[in-house]
């Protein structure tokens, strides 16, 4: 398997050369995925916690639905966002297709179910444990929701990281809604797909190595922050 050696050499040489195009692609990937994960957290966490705490008709169906949506096929999300943002679609007037905003929209759709479903589970377990205590303090459901989210913040970090993993590794949706346009919507995954199509497997694998290192750095940083905060203020 000479490809693997060549791939690592390729990845190393790209990093050492500080290839400008590569830096641009890496930077865009990070910006898009972080923005998408932040938005998905802001939407998904209250949503998941609300499903955990409130009782309403059809709640079980919503839970099953949320869990099922974790496996949403990216190509389908890509198609839905494409049809929505296309000039002939409902949001066409904004001209967002083939721009980074379209990438973010697709990734938000993919990540929200993951964060919401995992948050739902975490908050439900905490609620089972602390419901009597919270009730005795006279906390209403709204207060309980924020208290439990805060209490579960370290566990919930894993949900956010799972979301980031999904967002940054995804290729099917961003290829459709972004168009893999050089210097505009080309991210790590679509760049890898392009190099595979050109038959440059070593370069593609090299880019893959860099993407994995990037994911390691993000997860490492999250772990460090969590660790520091936990020991200092935990």
């Amino acid at each position: 398997m000479p490809e693997f050696g060549a791939a690592f050499a390729e990845a190393l040489s790209l990093v050492i050369r500080l290839d400008r195009d590569l830096a641009e692609i890496v930077w865009l990937s990070l910006k898009v995925s972080l923005a998408a994960v932040f938005l998905a957290t802001v939407i998904g966490m209250p949503l998941g916690a609300a499903v955990a705490l409130f009782h309403f008709p059809g709640r079980k169906a919503v839970i099953v639905g949320l869990n099922a949506l974790m496996g949403l096929p990216p190509v389908v999300v890509g198609l839905i966002v494409y049809l929505a943002l296309s000039r002939a679609g409902p949001f066409g007037v904004f001209g967002l297709l083939f721009t980074p905003a379209a990438l973010i929209a697709a990734q938000v759709l993919l990540v929200v179910p993951i964060i919401a479903a995992l948050t739902r589970q975490v908050v439900e377990d905490l609620w089972a444990e602390y419901s009597d205590q919270l009730r005795s303090f006279g906390a209403g459901p709204g207060r309980a929701l924020t208290a439990l989210l805060w209490d579960g913040r370290f566990t919930l970090l894993t949900a956010v990281l799972a979301g980031f993993g999904r967002a940054s590794a995804e290729v099917g949706a961003v290829m459709i809604v972004g168009g893999n346009i050089d210097h505009v919507t080309r991210v790590m995954t679509t760049a890898i797909a392009l190099e595979v199509r050109k038959g440059d497997l070593a370069l593609a694998l090299g880019l893959g190595v860099i993407l994995m290192v990037l994911s390691l750095i993000v997860n490492g940083a999250a772990f460090l922050i969590k660790d520091t905060v936990e020991t200092r203020y935990g």
């Binding site: 938005l39 209250p46 296309s86 679609g89 980074p100 168009g179």
Partner: protein, 313 residues
């Protein structure tokens, strides 16, 4: 309150990413085929165009069929593809303003170096695919209704072989793009039909080589069309027209003629209005007459492989 917070968060998140991507610059969106992108063709000519005009060209490279659909929905300003009949239908239906000839390249049949079906050197493409079917040797088809796929089906019809009936045996349909299909072909030690541009730029050849080429039926003309602003008012007609005019101008045609992949030529300019380019290209091409001849021209094809850079292989 909550909704306003979410909206603010959304704008605060998306706006810097969006602005960082060079938004606000003058740009047009071109729907094109993977062959032009994978071969490095756009990377060669777009900087030349941008240098003089300051217009950024954003290329969305997909199959010809998908590019046509994108343009029909108004998601591109200019269409740059290679399937004549579909292009003419597109214009006739009022989606495009006018089709211009830009350039032509050709398809080649590639296969394993030891050539088990023995098609090496056969110019008649129908005869070549017939020999593959008779062997039978594995043949990988795009199977995706692309321009290349349609051309391949023409060849089977001409050879009077019902390849589709053999699907799953020696005839294998990948349903994917040219690059992916070439990767599959290499892994299966099979034969396939590919455009020369993608083939020359393709790096994972592992012993495959061009075995049959030069048939007139294998010509592959590219057309460029401005999406009709009467149909889609947001189309950047003025900028799009500047791009098209440049492509078919003497300067644009010379830029196309100068493009090389590893020293080999992949595209021959053939714009009808490029009378002036005759001299510009003539210096580099031993048969300047063929360069400007329309792809339907009879002698054009026999002379394609006559390019000096081709003889070097």
């Amino acid at each position: 309150m909550m909704i306003r917070f979410w909206l603010a968060a959304a704008v605060a998140c998306i706006w810097p990413v969006q602005a960082g991507a060079g938004d606000g610059k003058t740009f047009i969106t071109v729907a094109s085929t993977t062959s032009t992108q994978n071969s490095g063709f756009f990377a060669h000519i777009l900087p030349l165009f941008g240098k003089n005009t300051g217009i950024e060209v954003r290329v969305v490279a997909v199959g010809t069929g998908q590019a046509l659909r994108l343009a029909r929905r108004g998601d591109a300003d200019v269409l740059f593809v290679h399937h004549g009949p579909s292009e003419e239908k597109f214009v006739a239906a009022g989606f495009g303003v006018k089709r211009h000839d830009v350039m032509v390249n050709d398809f080649v049949i590639v296969g394993p170096g030891d050539d088990p079906a023995g098609i090496g050197g056969i110019t008649d493409a129908a005869k070549a695919v017939r020999k593959i079917a008779d062997a039978p040797a594995p043949f990988v088809s795009r199977g995706d209704d692309s321009g290349t796929h349609k051309k391949e089906q023409e060849l089977w019809r001409a050879a009077e072989v019902d390849a589709a009936a053999a699907s799953g045996t020696w005839y294998r349909e990948t349903g994917s793009g040219m690059g992916a299909t070439l990767n599959t072909t290499a892994a299966m030690r099979a034969y396939t039909l590919t455009d020369r541009g993608t083939w020359l730029g393709f790096k994972n050849k592992v012993g495959m080589r061009v075995l049959s080429e030069g048939d007139r039926r294998l010509l592959n003309p590219y057309g460029v069309i401005l999406v009709n602003p009467a149909r889609h008012p947001h189309v950047k007609a003025k900028l799009g027209k500047i791009f098209i005019d440049w492509l078919i101008s003497a300067e644009g045609q010379a830029a196309i003629a100068a493009f090389r992949i590893d020293g080999r030529r992949a595209f021959w300019p053939n714009a009808a209005t490029a009378g002036a380019s005759r001299s510009a290209i003539g210096k580099k091409n031993p048969q300047p007459g063929t360069v400007n001849r329309r792809p339907s021209g009879k002698r054009g094809v026999e002379q394609l492989p006559d390019d000096p850079s081709e003889r070097r292989k």
